[in-house]
Amino acid sequence: MASRFPSLPVKKMTNNPRLLILSLLLAASPAMAATAGDLGPIAPEEWNAAHAAHLLERAGFGGTPEEVAAYAAMTPEAAVKRLVYMKDIPNDLPAFDESDIHEPGLDPFPVSRPAATDLAKQTGESMGVKVKPTGNRRLQPVANKFFYWLRASRLETHRMSYWWANRMLVTQRPLEEKMALFWHGHFANSEEKIRDYRKLYLQLQLFEAKGTGNFRDLMISVAQDPAMLAYLDAAVNVKGAPNENFAREIMELFTMGVGNYTETDIREAARAFTGWNYKDLTFVVNPDRHDDSVKHVLGQSGQYDGVQVIDVILAQPVTADYLATKIYKYFVRQEVSPELRKQLGNVLRDNNYEIAPLLQTIFLSQDFYSAQSTGTRIKPPVELVVSTYRKMGLKEVPGVPDFNDVTEALGQKLFYPPTVAGWANGKSWITPGLLLTRGNFGYDILFPDINFLPPDRNPGGDYQIAQVNDKLAQGFDVTSATKPDAKELTSMSMQADRDEEFNTRLASYRGWQQALQKVKPIPRDTAQLDLTAMVKQSGARTTQEAVDYLISRFLSVPVDAQTRDGIVGFLTKELGTSDLTGSETFAEEPLRLALHLILSLPEYQLG
């Protein structure tokens, strides 16, 4: 078999069967016959470990050697069907262990701090908190409450992203999570605006339940989803004063793409969605605010409501093309010919917008296994991080480094997409600085920072909070304690504690303090990694075999011989021997250094 792969970077094939299988993964597929652009299925006899690894990389979050071997032993059809039609596979994952932070009075949450305090001024109460009858800062508890919920919901969102990342790590249904992640980028809603983790939690459950089902069903559910309604200002879209935000994004981003509708279509469609709103976590329609007159949308007319407008949109030929192409670009590659675009659209259309058959077609296709498609995709940050942990064999997402900080630094923080357009994929994940940051992430797992401070317990990065904390404890009055650090110019002299309705900086501090007491902490274990055992288990006996094993386990594309030999030489030097047997007691750090070199290669970004 080895003779089929003349360009293998691993020059000397080993007789160890585990290493042999892994070596095959490196073969990429230049020698394969699979044809780019051909959606027809690959032949069962073409199926091999490299294909199985590619499939697990794209349809999931990367495979361990054991998983790759298991999928390679199936037929391609069985392997793809197991991933795509996954709902019957038992997946006993814990539900999100919510902190008890929400109280009924918090809903509806005021749109801003001024709105919160204004409401309290007018009615004597806001967010369930009453105004103090007399004294200085009568509104302070109200302002505190406002910031409490902002902080608490944010911290809980960070916990939720840990929970989701752990699902990605250990799920038996990787494509379920991967499609949820795709839809999270497609229907991109951010906690930054929603300010309610509960809505985002519901939305994520929606993506997981319906993400591979029927798109019409999904689109309607999303259009009636409280997070989406909050994000796109449904509350202000009412009869007589339609807000176009929602209708615009449905056409521009969710279904058709720019250039396929007019501004009139948007205005008319917006009227169909009037009166749609949410109350806390429930979708509601307010008939008094719904405009039930005739609308003219995309050449059709009727007394449409929102669902009917969605049906008009789904009847547009361009809609299936747009969606199928976006899914293909996410899973396969960025370049799509007009012919392929049409073919993909046909698959979705012919299957009545069922998503699973489209995914099955893509993952079984010649195109998917062609040289143009394999080892060419730049992993989005969340996938880079989760697949790294998977390949390290971890069973839990480490608490150090912080998952949210890492993914944010790399440009993809869960539940915080940058705009309603979601994340731009492909090359835009990479900048020179970000490429270095990706490598530094590897360093931070392998050599955890002992100066690490948990960001969910330590708001020190937050401007001035720490200082207010200290000054209050030292007996400063509120005005002085919350005065910005003024070692520089100041035109006002120090004043005594000021009379005021509330102090925002104090509220910000109290909000943090209350949130920290209620939001459960994120466990801060470092990666439970034992490279010595991993390499030993692989059967590797020399530094060369160890490096080849690590390269094949972690990389999806071959590395050049010079780079590989350099790492082998490095490991040999660090160990003081090329013989692994007997070096177990001191091999861990040298192996970690070698793995850091591998994770720092430009090639490591690809899957």
Binding site: P432, G433, H596, P602
Partner: protein, 407 residues
Amino acid sequence: MKTTPNLKSWSRREILRAGLAGMCAGGMPMVFSRAAAATADAANGNRILVVMELSGGNDGLNTLVPYTDDAYYRLRPHIGIKADKLRKIDDRFGFSPGMTGFQKLYKDGKMAVVHGCGYAQPSFSHFTSMAYWHTGAPNSGEEYGWVGRLADAIDPKLTPNFIINIDETQSLAVRAKDHVPVVFDDPNTFGRKGLYQTRPLLDHVGEPVEGNASQRYLTDIAKSAREASVLVKDAWTKYKTPVDYGIYGVDLPKVASLIAAGMPTRLYYVAYRHNAFDTHVAQQDQHQRLISYASDAVAGFMADLERIGRADDVVVMVFSEFGRRVPENTSLGTDHGTANHMYLIGKNVRGGHYGTPSDLTRLDEGDNLVYTTDFRRVYASVIEGWLKYGQSDKLFSQRFETFPVFA
């Protein structure tokens, strides 16, 4: 040719690399420059734009105060700045008391103030409004930033290091389809973490022999990261300036160091970070301090450019994602607002007022200023007037009338 690189800032290696070893008999360097080495570029090929973001929503009314307008003092009885404290620039407007730098730049005719900048259906969310300014596409979805799209348009040959963004994370504004912005924060740590013994291998970037297109792309970026990090560190190490940028330089000294080192960068992006201008409470001291720092930094930068000999080649554009509500709030601060000033600063800027100030007596239902100038008019003015790219309409999918700001 205005470009006169400081020879001292060029390493021997760089001079050799540029093939510019020729010297006059007297030992003086021949007139040379990066642009001279690439005469194919138009004469405008040296022109640099530095975008400076004031994040958090800068209170424009307390930055440049309309001190003859009674409405201003009526609506801001406590935080309105008294006329005698202001740095007056004419019989209507005066800068915040600490803004000596801006006052001088204006009086020297190097500053254009554009009034009433905003957009229709304004968002009061920092996040959303900033995204609108970053993309130049309000109330719409656009993947790429306006600076990124601009780079793709004016530099189709994809010059390395064409965009530099100094910040912790990449700004949406510089996200490009084709260009790779160089993004870093601290020049001293712009590099790889790694132990001493791994350095030679870590810093080595191999040539991709037969890899796929993505692999080649990544290897290119890895090289560019390595080279950019070396150039940036190098420029920063060599850079010494007698110029005072004040207390917080807003990363402009880093920009000056890179310009001094002859980087081919045409588009720089810096930010006064972390929502600093979000001044809801007791803002008077705080805002005066913040805006003075910004003013000092820009004035210092312009002086430093004179010293470097590149003052003719650089324009600074200052903006914020929105202004503040006109009436002060009950906490001696201001809440999120709408229309604001933009500032264009440079030796080649035709100083003065542009656009129409929003009317303080005709606020919208939320007590906000009504914008008079779509902010993309200013973007378009810079793109067309300064960077000499005549098709700004392609970047914003509509044509915006430009201001004649540039000499």
